[in-house]
């Protein structure tokens, strides 16, 4: 029987988690999920990675928080958010009613706060996994974060893996010399998967005021501009790790997503694209299905890691 967009098997298997399709929404670009209800069918998503959560509510950085660059966006939101308790009380019950994998992006000012967030969330139902945001460039000075060193990555992941009852996805920073080294440290520490990349530490200058365009001076660059670097990193990491890789960075179309999968990603996250088109993540999944159809590919997972480099 010929493959049709309808019959294509889009499911993705991370081992610890089966997804309806390989497309998740990237943390911080999809709010807490519900904001997008009016624009797409949340149950058509592979999963939702909610905005980064600290234990308590957070102020975030002073505006301006966003600046557009050629094919890119620099943000310095600074993880403003409601905290896990409010999240569990107000948001999680709503999300539970939706049949889609919910991944919580876990943040912390220090290792103890990461542990506290995980401990609290372990007491809540309706969460498929934790994505450890050890790579946000917008909170400490000059982008400092655990993901910049294999040692701090290993220690933090090890501690959280021991504490958590749920699978861990460690989210890596691209602002490193060897992302493979960091990924291997996370794997050795027991992470169930890695997600990459987070944003690139960047600066935009306003010539007239002679000030940075962002209130926080530096910010994180995302969008199509970074895709070629992100794709390279995903390829490097996927070629070395046993743990599954979730790829992201500038994915705007199904073709972009398929390139990440060919490079070795078992699933992908769509970030900045959701700002441009609130329904982008679902469109990306649809475009994947149609590409598989036109290429007679019965299961999208057969594309994973098929990039020929010799």
């Amino acid at each position: 029987m010929a493959v049709t967009a309808k019959t294509v098997d889009l499911t993705a298997d991370l081992g610890f988690l089966k997804l309806r399709n390989p497309v998740l929404t990237a943390s911080g670009t999809f709010g807490y999920g519900l904001e997008f209800g009016p624009y797409l069918d949340l149950e058509k998503l592979g999963g939702i990675v909610v905005k980064g959560l600290y234990y308590g509510p957070r102020e975030g950085n002073p505006p301006p928080r966003l600046v557009e660059t050629p094919s890119g966006l620099i943000n310095a939101i600074g993880l403003q958010g409601i905290g896990v308790e409010a999240f569990a009380a107000k948001v999680l019950p709503e999300l539970r009613r939706i049949d889609t994998a919910v991944v919580v992006n876990v943040c912390g000012a220090d290792d103890d706060e990461y542990a506290a967030v995980v401990e609290f969330l372990d007491g809540q139902e309706g969460i498929a996994a934790y994505e450890l945001n050890i790579s946000c460039p917008n909170v400490k000075k000059e982008g400092a974060c655990p993901a910049l060193s294999p040692r701090t990555t290993f220690d933090l992941v090890k501690r959280l893996k021991a504490a958590s009852r749920r699978p861990l996805i460690t989210k890596l920073s691209p602002n490193v010399t060897s992302i493979v080294e960091i990924a291997l440290a996370a794997e050795e520490a027991g992470t169930d998967a890695v997600a990459l990349v987070n944003t690139f530490l960047a600066l935009a200058v306003d010539l007239e005021t002679r000030r940075p365009k962002l209130g926080n001076v530096y910010g994180g660059l995302s969008g199509p501009a970074i895709k070629p670097i992100a794709l390279r990193m995903v390829h490097q990491v996927a070629s070395r790790l046993k743990a599954p890789v979730i790829g992201m960075g500038g994915i705007m179309t199904g073709a972009d997503a398929l390139e990440f999968m060919m490079a070795g990603a078992a699933a992908v996250e769509v970030g900045t694209a959701s700002f441009v088109d609130p329904d982008a993540a679902v469109r990306v999944a649809d475009e994947m299905a149609r590409w598989c159809e036109s290429h007679g590919i019965a299961a999208v997972r057969d594309v994973v890691g098929t990039l020929k480099t010799s």
Partner: protein, 261 residues
């Protein structure tokens, strides 16, 4: 708040770098309330990356109007669109002005600075609809910055013009003109949209006189739908610990709640 991927640009009027677009988009037009805005794809393809927020200048069953000034790359691209072109817009978004029956028979001041005049036409029409009496203050740096004066006059709204350089109407800031008129009339509400310095001044003026006001704020916007937390402003008693999302809880806020740096 539908995504209208192919809204037909029916008509374009322009004055130098100011543009008035009439767009066919029933779904958006029917829902829109004064003070709400839309997110418009200004380019074709992924350049520029982000949509641009533009206030609803007017709306009806058949669609809506936009009035914008070229401020940079995005609005410059949008300005190139010709009648018949299709626009990709999301909206109406945000919470608009309150223009309720409570104002019937009473006077409201509408203060627009430069491009900030955009949402006030729709508001003035709505106020007339509920039997209120809109008095419009429209200011700019120079005469070329107040191209909509004829449109407001033709609609029969009481109109006070000002220019910083005195090339048209009152010579000075529109806020000074408002202060002068406040001596004569006591409005039940002051609505405003314009550059931050004007809004700040107006907030002070209305506060001093204990007048209620509603200000439409601006910010760079990433998404327009409350997802990126990029558009925040300090608002008293809002959610989000002081930094409130303009796109979601605004862009219109009561003047007394808006905190200025």
């Amino acid at each position: 708040m539908p995504i209208e991927r192919s809204a037909r640009l029916r008509e374009v009027r322009s004055w130098d770098d100011h543009f008035l677009f009439s767009v066919d988009a029933p779904a958006v037009g029917k829902e829109a309330r004064p003070g709400q805005f839309v997110m418009v794809k200004v380019g074709e393809g992924a350049f520029p990356l982000l949509r641009r927020p533009l206030g609803v200048h007017d709306a009806g069953p058949e669609g809506f109007e936009l009035f914008f000034r070229v401020a940079g790359q995005g609005t410059a691209l949008l300005a190139r669109r010709k009648p018949g072109d299709l626009l990709d817009v999301i909206g109406p978004l945000g919470k608009g002005f309150t223009a309720g029956r409570g104002l019937a028979g009473r006077t409201a001041f509408l203060v627009g600075g430069g491009r900030g005049i955009a949402p006030l036409y729709f508001l003035a029409r709505a106020l007339t609809g509920v039997g209120a009496r809109p008095v419009v203050f429209y200011g700019g740096r120079t005469a070329a910055d107040v191209p909509l004066r004829d449109k407001f006059a033709a609609a029969g709204f009481e109109l006070h013009l000002s220019t910083d350089d005195g090339s048209l109407g009152f010579a000075g800031f529109v806020t000074s003109l408002v202060e002068r008129e406040l001596g004569r009339a006591e409005p039940a509400m002051v609505y405003a949209c314009g550059p931050d310095p004007m809004m700040k001044a107006l907030a002070a003026i209305t506060a001093r006189r204990g007048l209620p006001s509603e200000l439409s704020l601006e910010s760079v916007m990433g998404c327009g739908i409350g997802a990126c937390w990029g558009c925040v402003h300090r608002i008293k008693g809002g959610t989000g610990d002081g930094w409130v999302k303009i796109c979601e809880e605004g862009p219109v806020f009561p003047g007394e709640r808006v905190l200025w740096p």
